[in-house]
């Protein structure tokens, strides 16, 4: 980048002088993050700080209606503002990109609205100016007229197909299970995933007890502290994008497709991210700035204020209808799951959420008869996509609440009920894939022991009642996906790693450097991890879904091993005896007669995978690893106000062998804290498709005062046999169980069951009052 590059990695001697180098084993070290100093001293590079010569700023003009045809866009007043360079609308985009629709699953999202708008906040025009304040002022003067159409906001209503969001479905063609939707009209269903195992109807008929419940989750969003920002610099036959993206390789492929270019003419540079959480995947502002730079023939930057983040991408709200049959011994014999995902106006990665998480909807339970239907639905809301957990936290909210409701109805202790039904090591998941290296039982027993579950519990007195709850869950990693890495050993023996995993705060650069250090027997601190740049760093599917440590970790390990082997063969070629103490630098010196040359190792990793059978969803290998976690929660409920205080939150995770235990712990506590906000109070409020709390003043996330007094983040002893050094992903695993464990604890405390998130004080008080038969009047 023109502004600043990463500080060169200090040499090992310099580091040793500071006492910062640890030799010996690198995997398992709680090494502080390599970039920590850069970040806390304000030197780390972010896209927001970057300015290019001649750059224009774009300010987005957004739709004020949820669904309608665009009659006209009048930009004359905006264009008259002194300093405005240009106002761009959809028709201008078509002139430079004839088919300006993008998306990972469907090519449904226009760069700027064309003909119709599909949600409040959809970009309809952009004002360009050298001064961002001028662009902002002028943007308020753009006037659009619409012919309003009926809108549909709720996922269950959308499934009725009475109001249609899109006239025709446009799958991207990359996913086999979406091909049958090409050109389909008259539907809002962007994916209808099915799993069929056994015969649920027969099993329900034979069951001693049948339970059926419905759960819902609200619309929430990522709120990374760095909002979306992208810069495009179009130079006729080359394009450089500087962008806060979790998936630079996808961005390059998709932009090249939109332009009809080979990949090597598009360069995507990604510095550190100020958080991502799944929001910065696929295309967000990248296609927009590309079109704007092509039109203006100047570099263009668009950086969203926090308020506009609310109209960009969110988590999926969901309705989950779950029905289980239980035999006289308290064994679950059948389960039917119907899940409706509210994907908003554009599919983004929603169909993958519906399938790749949908297949775990029956939970970590050994159930003979399972039927799952998981529907990705279009609605006239801001689009929904990936968010830390990829749908699984919503599913677990439902199935682990359902588990407790059944246990209570059957008068079986919730722990004991789970013990009777969990899938144990070596058993099979509903898809037919074996549950290997998945510590379901171990995690459950760890939670039970740490919660003193068998001991009496103080239930509180007076207005404040106490309760406790637990939950357990699994998730698969999205599969099959590919990572590529390059390790370059320089002539002085120093080492450089090229990998496309984006360090967005999760500490991946540090973990990858530890893997290189372990293989090459050098301190991790001495490894230079090159910032993401698709001209330099090789392909990676994306930093998402807890896949990086496993997939990229393997690729990095293989690249380092190849480099190590090449060093060994160089030593042999030079006639050195095995085990001689020549340094790497000495080898290069001996080979080339001077400090010269490189040794380059490359590694590729793609796990084995067997696609699910169409119709049944069954497969012997649906995922290369399972994520498992459990939560124990203790709460105090103020029965007069509905306030719930989480006094203890115990997170227990199976993360295999931690590569960097300290970073793993902060991933667990961070994920649980984020989920605590989604559980207790976070909610995007809507009025006619308009978000009424689209700012950090009115949409609150947890602060330090919201953390439980006892907040314990633990792992069980585990080893992922097919993982790099026994490790596996850790970014999402602590999100799964927080909501149902707290919901179950509330029920335990005061005997009311909430079936919709968030569990805010009003919802609790309303439930209490309804139970007492003196309901609070409607709002």
């Amino acid at each position: 980048m023109p502004s600043a590059t990463m500080n060169p990695t200090p040499s090992p001697p310099a580091l040793a002088a500071e006492g910062r180098v640890a030799t010996g084993p690198q995997v398992g070290r709680s090494l502080p993050r390599l970039e920590a100093r850069e970040k806390v001293t304000g030197r780390a590079e972010y896209t927001h700080n970057l300015r290019l010569p001649g750059m224009l700023y774009g300010k987005v003009v957004r739709s004020t209606i949820a669904h309608g045809r665009i009659r006209s866009i009048d930009a004359s007043a905006a264009k008259a503002v002194p300093g405005v360079y240009q106002v761009v609308a959809g028709e201008d985009v078509i002139k430079v990109i004839p088919h300006p629709y993008y998306g990972p699953a469907f090519h449904d999202q226009p760069i700027l609205a064309i003909g119709k708008v599909h949600y409040v906040g959809e970009p309809i025009a952009v004002v360009l100016a050298e001064d961002p304040h001028v662009a902002e002022t002028a943007a308020t003067l753009v006037v659009a007229e619409y012919e309003e159409l009926p809108a549909v906001y709720d996922e269950l209503e959308a499934a009725q197909n009475r109001v249609l969001v899109h006239d025709e479905l446009k799958p991207a063609g990359t996913f086999a299970d979406l091909k049958h939707l090409k050109g389909v009209r008259g539907t809002n269903i962007a994916l209808d995933y099915q799993l069929r195992k056994g015969d649920v109807e027969k099993a329900f008929a034979e069951a001693a007890h049948v339970f059926e419940h419905e759960f819902r989750t609200q619309k929430v969003l990522h709120l990374a502290f760095e909002p979306f920002v992208s810069i495009a610099d179009y130079k006729g036959d080359r394009l450089t994008l500087y962008t806060a993206s979790q998936g630079p390789s996808f961005v390059r492929i998709e932009i090249a497709r939109l332009l009809g270019w080979p990949e090597n003419r598009v360069r995507v540079k990604v510095p550190f991210l100020g958080g991502g959480y799944g929001g910065k995947l696929y295309i967000k502002l990248e296609a927009l700035v590309t079109a704007l730079s092509m039109i203006a023939k100047r570099p263009v930057k668009v950086s969203l204020p926090m308020e506009e983040v609310f109209y960009t991408i969110t988590r999926h709200p969901m309705t989950f209808r779950i029905k289980s049959g239980v035999d006289e011994h308290g064994r679950i014999t059948a389960r039917r799951c119907e899940v409706f995902w509210n994907g908003g106006a554009y599919a983004d990665i929603g169909p993958r959420v519906a399938q790749k998480s949908g297949f775990t909807a029956s939970g970590p339970y050994d159930i003979e008869n399972v039927s799952i239907d998981s529907y990705a639905l279009y609605t006239n809301q801001p689009p929904a996509g990936a968010l830390r957990g990829f749908g699984v936290p919503q599913l677990v909210w439902a199935y682990e609440s359902h588990t407790d409701m059944m246990a209570r109805a059957l008068r079986i202790d919730p722990l004991e009920f789970r013990r009777r039904n969990i899938t144990r090591e070596g058993g099979r998941h509903a898809t037919g894939t074996p549950l290997e290296d998945a510590a379901v039982e171990k995690v459950l027993e760890h939670v039970a022991a740490r919660m003193n579950w068998s001991k009496p519990f103080d239930r509180g007195t007076g207005a404040v009642r106490r309760g406790r709850g637990l939950a357990i869950a699994i998730k698969a990693v999205i599969s099959p996906t590919t990572s590529v890495a390059i390790v370059n050993v320089n002539a002085d023996g120093s080492t450089t790693l090229y990998c496309g995993t984006v360090d967005m705060g999760q500490g991946s650069d540090t973990a990858m450097a530890q893997i290189v250090g372990e293989i090459l027997n050098i301190p991790a601190e001495s490894v230079n991890v090159v910032p993401r740049d698709t001209d330099v760093t090789p392909y990676d599917m994306g930093t998402l879904g807890s896949r990086s440590l496993f997939h990229m970790g393997h690729a990095v390990k293989r690249a380092a091993e190849e480099a190590r082997d090449k060093i060994a063969s160089l030593a042999r070629e030079l006639g050195l005896p095995k085990g001689s103490n020549y340094s790497v630098a000495d080898l290069f010196q001996k080979k080339y007669g001077m400090q010269a040359g490189n040794i380059v190792g490359a590694g590729v990793y793609k796990p084995d995978y067997v696609p699910p059978q169409p119709g049944t969803g069954l497969t012997p290998n649906v995922t290369p690893f399972w994520m498992v976690s459990g939560v124990g929660a203790e709460v105090e409920v103020d029965t007069e106000t509905g306030h719930v205080r989480v006094t203890r939150l115990l997170n227990v995770c199976d993360i295999g062998r931690p590569i960097n235990p300290k970073i793993c712990e902060s991933q667990i506590s961070g994920a649980a804290t984020m989920q605590l906000g989604f559980t207790m109070f976070e909610k995007m409020h809507f009025d006619g498709g308009q978000v009424t709390n689209a700012s950090l003043a009115d949409y609150k996330i947890p602060g330090f005062h919201d953390l439980p007094a006892a907040f314990e983040n633990e792992t069980v002893e585990a080893y992922q046999s097919n993982g790099p050094f026994g490790g596996k992903g850790v970014g999402e695993v602590a999100t799964f169980c927080v909501s149902p464990a707290i919901g179950n604890a509330i029920d335990d405390a005061v005997g009311v069951r909430l079936t919709e998130l968030p569990l805010n004080p009003e919802a609790v008080l309303r439930a209490l009052r309804a139970k007492e038969n003196r309901p609070l009047e409607d709002a």
């Binding site: 308020e307 106000t641 719930v644 976070e682 709390n693 609070l776």
Partner: protein, 307 residues
């Protein structure tokens, strides 16, 4: 936000000259913590802001011989929070500060600004109303004095004219009065309150007199609750009295629905919080010779403690 003119006068008289009675885009600027949010949201687009920060005479805290306090309007909230005189003479203000926004805001926001803004979610206005505080207001035509309880005209509206500035806050001597403020949040602990309740009264043994009960945040503006005050006035404190006071408050207040809760829910909160606030004021500032405390009930301000 778009560029604007920033004036930094050194005297009140100069500040008044920069203001414009006919132009809503010209406003005085105190700490700016609230105004900046409005500007960022595009709700307020100023052409000129008149910063009062350089007017040194407006940021002093003075202890009056009669037990009262005079606090300059530009005094940062953190100065008030850490003033031993304020702690001694109106301790409820110091207790309120602990959960008022956050330390960054308190270091910048001013005591006059939180009144002039007219935002019903602010924590101090109901407390100052309960303490029967008044403000000195300077305008081009002269000065006037106003009770804080008469300052608010509606949602984000005050009776101040566009070319008037609050210069001072006067808190009368509280004598043996007891006071409490309870803040109820329904989102994060540091969210704006869904409800604020401030109370103050005199107590002789278990008998309450001259009560002042104020609701904020849940209503269009901070409002005294005369019905609840009437219930408490001259009565002997016990559980039944507290329940009646809470009921009177709930009957009387016109709560409004927003993202922090529905109107019916806030009415229930008010019922509980008036009861708890009176109890807390009675117990927290109880002289040593008073009767033993009432039976404990639900914890105050469940999301982070009481004040």
């Amino acid at each position: 936000m778009t560029p604007f003119e920033l004036a930094e006068p050194l005297t009140v008289a100069d500040a008044l000259r920069f203001l414009d009675p006919d132009d809503s885009t010209v406003r005085p600027l105190g700490g700016g913590t609230a105004l900046m949010l409005m500007m960022k949201a595009g709700v307020f687009r100023p052409t000129r802001l008149v910063s009062l920060r350089r007017i040194a005479s407006l940021s002093r805290i003075t202890a009056l011989p009669d037990g009262g306090l005079v606090i300059g309007a530009l005094t940062p909230l953190s100065d008030v929070e850490h003033s031993t005189e304020v702690a001694r003479r109106a301790g409820v203000i110091v207790r309120t500060m602990r959960r008022l926004s956050n330390v960054r805001v308190r270091n910048v926001a001013t005591i006059g600004g939180c009144l002039a803004h007219g935002d019903p979610h602010m924590d101090l206005p109901p407390v100052l109303m309960a303490l029967d505080a008044s403000i000195a207001v300077a305008g081009r035509t002269g000065k006037r004095t106003l009770k804080v309880e008469n300052l608010f005209a509606g949602y984000y509206e005050t009776v101040l004219k566009r070319d008037e500035i609050i210069t001072e806050l006067h808190i009368p001597a509280q004598g043996g009065r007891r006071a409490a403020y309870l803040k109820c949040t329904t989102g994060s602990a540091d969210d704006w309150p869904a409800l604020g309740v401030a109370v103050s009264f005199e107590a002789e043994g278990s008998a309450i007199s001259a009560p002042r009960v104020v609701v904020s945040a849940a209503t269009e503006k901070a409002t005294r609750l005369n019905g609840a005050e009437a219930v408490l006035s001259g009565a002997t404190i016990d559980d039944a009295l507290l329940a009646r006071a809470g009921d009177a408050a709930a009957d009387e207040a016109e709560t409004i629905s927003d993202v922090r809760g529905s109107a019916p829910y806030k009415r229930e909160l008010l019922r509980v919080y008036v009861r708890r606030a009176v109890r807390q004021a009675f117990e927290a500032e109880r002289p040593l010779s008073s009767p033993p405390p009432l039976a404990r009930e639900g914890r105050e301000g469940a999301q982070g403690g009481a004040h």
